[in-house]
Symmetry: C3
């Protein structure tokens, strides 16, 4: 198959692919093994203040097409984040979205900084495989829901600008 890149001229308003997904993270709390989708592998215990600077979490979270945790997942988000700020919550993320459905097969890799204090935070989509071969773009995070310290959900709006 021969494909032509669309990256000779790129308009931020005209991604070649656009998706909105919801990311659901349920932290392991010692007793919820069946439901947990993530685990804290380092707790910095407030060494650098109350915002968990240094605390590291590994996750394998369902991604749904609407904002409901219990909707059928359309992808998995696999990766990690750690908090990295002394005076507010701020998380550094690296993750891969894994699609394995009739609609999409392939992966998309993302890295960047989730500045939780902002309403919208942009991460970089830095590569992909399968249906997302060599893709690049932007993944914008917005708050969806938070429940206690164990559950949070983020909207992830993905705009891809290189599609092959």
């Amino acid at each position: 198959t021969l494909a032509f890149a669309n990256n000779k001229a790129i308009s931020r308003d005209k991604p070649c692919k656009h998706m909105v997904l919801y990311f659901h993270n349920i932290m392991y709390n010692g007793t919820n093994q069946a439901n947990a989708t993530s685990i804290k592998i380092h707790d910095s215990h407030g060494a650098l203040g109350p915002f968990d600077f240094g605390t590291l979490v590994v996750f394998n979270d369902p991604m749904t097409a609407d904002h409901q945790l219990l909707s059928t997942p359309v992808a998995r988000a696999q990766g990690f984040y750690f908090y990295d700020m002394k005076d507010n919550y701020n998380a550094w993320f690296a993750l891969t979205l894994v699609f394995n459905s009739t609609e999409h097969k392939g992966t998309m890799s993302i890295m960047g900084d989730d500045i939780i204090a902002l309403e919208e935070r942009d991460l970089a989509v830095v590569g992909g495989t399968g249906d997302f071969f060599l893709t690049r773009g932007i993944a914008t995070l917005r708050k969806n829901a938070v429940q206690g310290i164990e559950y949070f959900s983020l909207q992830m709006e993905i705009k891809l600008y290189e599609c092959y």
Copy 2:
């Protein structure tokens, strides 16, 4: 030096660079310091089931041109992986291949998900330096050998689609 990108039209069958390498990982077991090439820096001790979800390993592994551990390395693979699935082995990788030979000097950075249950798993090559300046492509992992819990080897087939 002026170079022209080959990425105006990309065919998946026609990478601008193609390599097959073998990655050899010898886990530190407490006594094999001389031979070990990797070290577990977090063990989740089965908190999320028998597949080591959350266990994190840092490595600096030789890459050889054939499948033998003892062949002369042609590169090093430096990075980390962690397991991230409850019901099977699945590893998330980020690594840099470091070449320093007469044939190649430079690095290639890779990230993605190694779905160990599949025969072939594609990771994204997201950038490079030196001879691999600004490169992008796909690194396909296939099983080469496993011996106990201390040694595994993977074939890595690299196809680059942006060569400058």
Copy 3:
């Protein structure tokens, strides 16, 4: 807004954007919470020799435009590194530069290997957001200053080759 990529022909000598910044890292030592910008989240305690193979550090470091720690920061460098070599210091980095000034707003994500034994080490700039939307390039590290085990500073010369 419509932008044209400059990546049809790329000359290593002619980046579309060029910056020199200084990265300052002050390690948490148990008592310097107010000044610390980084924290060791795993110490391998010499398991694989004297060069800290496996030791992992999370940081949120000021970036200044000159080599002085106390100059006004122009960006933050947020990410992590770990040592990964048995016979010398060698660090694997993944980080995001976060700019939020009148001059630049946006992020740049970087990954690669800091071969500390070399005078110049190139890392890959693999993506960006905001003013650095979809950027790619090279970040070259050079030693700036080291003071004891708690402070080091690196010069980071950034050359971007895709600017939109």
